[in-house]
């Protein structure tokens, strides 16, 4: 089982900082997201793709977590030579995060 099975994600960019919103498809799964999708797991999973810090914000009313990743865009959209300078595809990377079975 992977994150995609219970959540959808959207990434955004500002300068060299990316964010990934992780939103439970069913609000009942929010507690599980809080438990399993931790700062440490996201940092370890994305590995070298994120050079700075990983900070998690909780939005219980939306059943969502917001991850803020610093130094994640090779210097930022306006100077990076990366193919996906915006880091738009980062959300899809996180969707592959393995979860414990139901």
């Amino acid at each position: 089982m992977i994150l995609r099975d219970i959540a959808h994600c959207r990434s955004g960019d500002k300068g060299d900082i990316a964010n990934i919103a992780v939103i439970a498809r069913d609000p009942a799964d929010y507690a599980r997201l809080c438990r399993e999708v931790t700062e440490a797991r996201v940092a370890a999973f994305l590995g070298e793709r994120v050079k700075g810090s990983v900070t998690r914000y909780e939005l219980p009313r939306l059943g969502a977590l917001n991850f803020v990743l610093t130094e994640a865009l090779s210097g930022g959209v306006v100077s990076s030579l990366a193919l996906d300078a915006h880091g738009k595809s980062l959300s899809s990377a996180l969707l592959a995060l393995p979860l414990e079975g139901a």
Partner: protein, 445 residues
């Protein structure tokens, strides 16, 4: 005013035009807002203005205005946009002329300026987020524009403008200004300003809240994506907003699409820094009212900081890029051999940066996250930055030269060399920014 109907006609400069025209004709809107200015767009517009004093506004301004001016006039819908880019006055004069051509004499078009803070930056010499100070960039600087708030836009609306064109403003401010104008909100009513900012934030990317940028077949399905409708915000006097769209348009507005947009490009949800307010989305709730109708409540705000984010653009050398594809047995090995050839040859050039990607293999997520069986085909991408255009050209040309000098079966080579414009940001005292409003009236044809 009891409720305001505000539509989003564009989420970026090159966005589709017909959904905006549809909103203008059928939306019964009070306001139609076009957000068209990405981070780097102002710099490019400034370069066009330097070459031609009447240029420097959005390249699609004319096409958009020809599509919506008449239906907006007929419906009493007022237009607000940052399509003025680096030259709001020239943009407003052009729109006044178009209005005359379309038989709309007396149409009032406002140019709102003041976001250009190049002179203020030269004087204040602010620190830059990339390190160093503004002055260190010297003659390389192209533009400095502050993300301004609603003040100038409000004045233009108060003066009865039918169309308001500005340059750099905070994107949500384009929506917040009409709301403050219509409801008469106090500029220290932080919760209403915060909620109005939320409404603007939800609408500013146009199709994105209607199911654009959301579809994931089998998991998140969206009907009618080819004919995606653009959103309408129905805003109450307390700032709460219902997001909806026109019947018989594609896409879907659901709690899921709205939640994604609430958090799009947000860091700390309790502190979304805006020129007029620090908006707080941490207590926001969404509720489905029916098909394509979602109500958003619980936005709040805190006092503004008094500083404005300022975007500084500067010449940053030249970028050379080349791509070539390999397929079939050994495709990845041949692409890697091609990369080795390029590494050897480009080491002889004065490049500040050089980067290689294997598209189809690991270009987006890096090698560790991309582990798996080898793909049937890959595309090698080489991209480098240099101060000297000759070195940038070498990157592009060396990729193309792999046709006759590189590994077997390379195909579809492509190359590009372009001047590089980079951006950094600074914080500027908001008191250094003084908005100005000029009204141009469409003459009789």
């Amino acid at each position: 005013m009891r409720q305001v109907r505000i539509g989003a006609g564009a989420g970026y400069s090159g966005d589709r035009i017909e959904p905006a025209e549809d909103l203008a004709r059928r939306g019964a809107l009070d306001f139609l807002v076009f957000e068209c200015l990405a981070e780097r767009t102002v710099a490019q517009a400034q370069l066009r203005r330097a070459a031609d004093p009447e240029a420097g506004y959005d390249p699609f301004l004319e096409a958009r205005m020809r599509a919506v001016l008449r239906p907006c006039r007929a419906a009493g819908t007022r237009i607000v946009s940052n399509m003025g880019a680096a030259n709001p006055d020239a943009a407003a004069r052009r729109v006044a002329d178009i209005a005359a051509e379309l038989g709309l004499p007396g149409l009032r078009v406002a140019a709102v300026t003041g976001d250009d803070v190049l002179d203020a930056c030269r004087e204040a010499d602010p620190a830059l987020d990339r390190g160093g100070r503004f002055g260190d960039l010297g003659a390389r600087v192209i533009s400095a524009n502050a993300y301004v708030g609603v003040a100038g836009l409000l004045r233009a609306l108060e003066q009865g403008a039918d169309v308001v064109l500005t340059g750099r403003a905070a994107d949500p401010a384009l929506f917040l200004a009409p709301l403050v104008h219509a409801f008469g909100w106090d500029m220290t009513d932080w919760d209403r300003l915060g909620h109005g900012t939320l409404a603007g934030h939800l609408l500013e990317c146009a199709g994105q809240v209607c199911g654009g940028y959301f579809a994931d077949p089998g998991f998140s399905d969206v009907p009618g994506l080819a004919d995606l409708g653009f959103p309408i915000g129905v805003v109450d006097a307390d700032g709460t907003v219902e997001i909806t769209k026109l019947p018989d348009t594609g896409g879907a507005i659901t709690p899921a699409t709205v939640k994604e947009q609430i958090l799009y490009e947000i860091h700390d949800p309790a502190r979304y820094y805006q020129p007029d307010v620090v908006a707080d989305f941490s207590g926001v709730s969404v509720e489905a009212l029916g098909p394509d109708r979602v109500r958003v409540t619980g936005g709040a705000g805190h006092p503004r900081t008094g500083t404005l984010k300022t975007s500084v653009s500067f010449h940053d050398g030249y970028i050379g890029e080349g791509q070539i594809s390999y397929a079939g047995p050994g495709a990845v090995a041949r692409a890697r051999l091609a990369q080795e050839v390029l590494e050897t040859r480009l080491a002889r050039q004065a490049l500040r940066e050089l980067r290689f990607d294997l598209i189809g293999m690991d270009a987006l997520h890096g090698p560790r996250l991309s582990a798996g069986p080898e793909p049937h085909e890959v595309r090698l991408r080489a991209i480098g930055r240099a101060d000297d255009i000759g070195a940038a050209e070498a990157v592009a040309n060396e990729v193309e030269a792999l046709y006759t000098n590189g590994p077997a079966g390379g195909g579809g080579a492509w190359k590009s060399v372009r001047p590089a414009v980079s951006l950094c940001s600074a914080l500027l005292d908001a008191r250094l920014v003084r908005p100005e409003v000029t009204i141009y009236e469409a003459p009789a044809a």
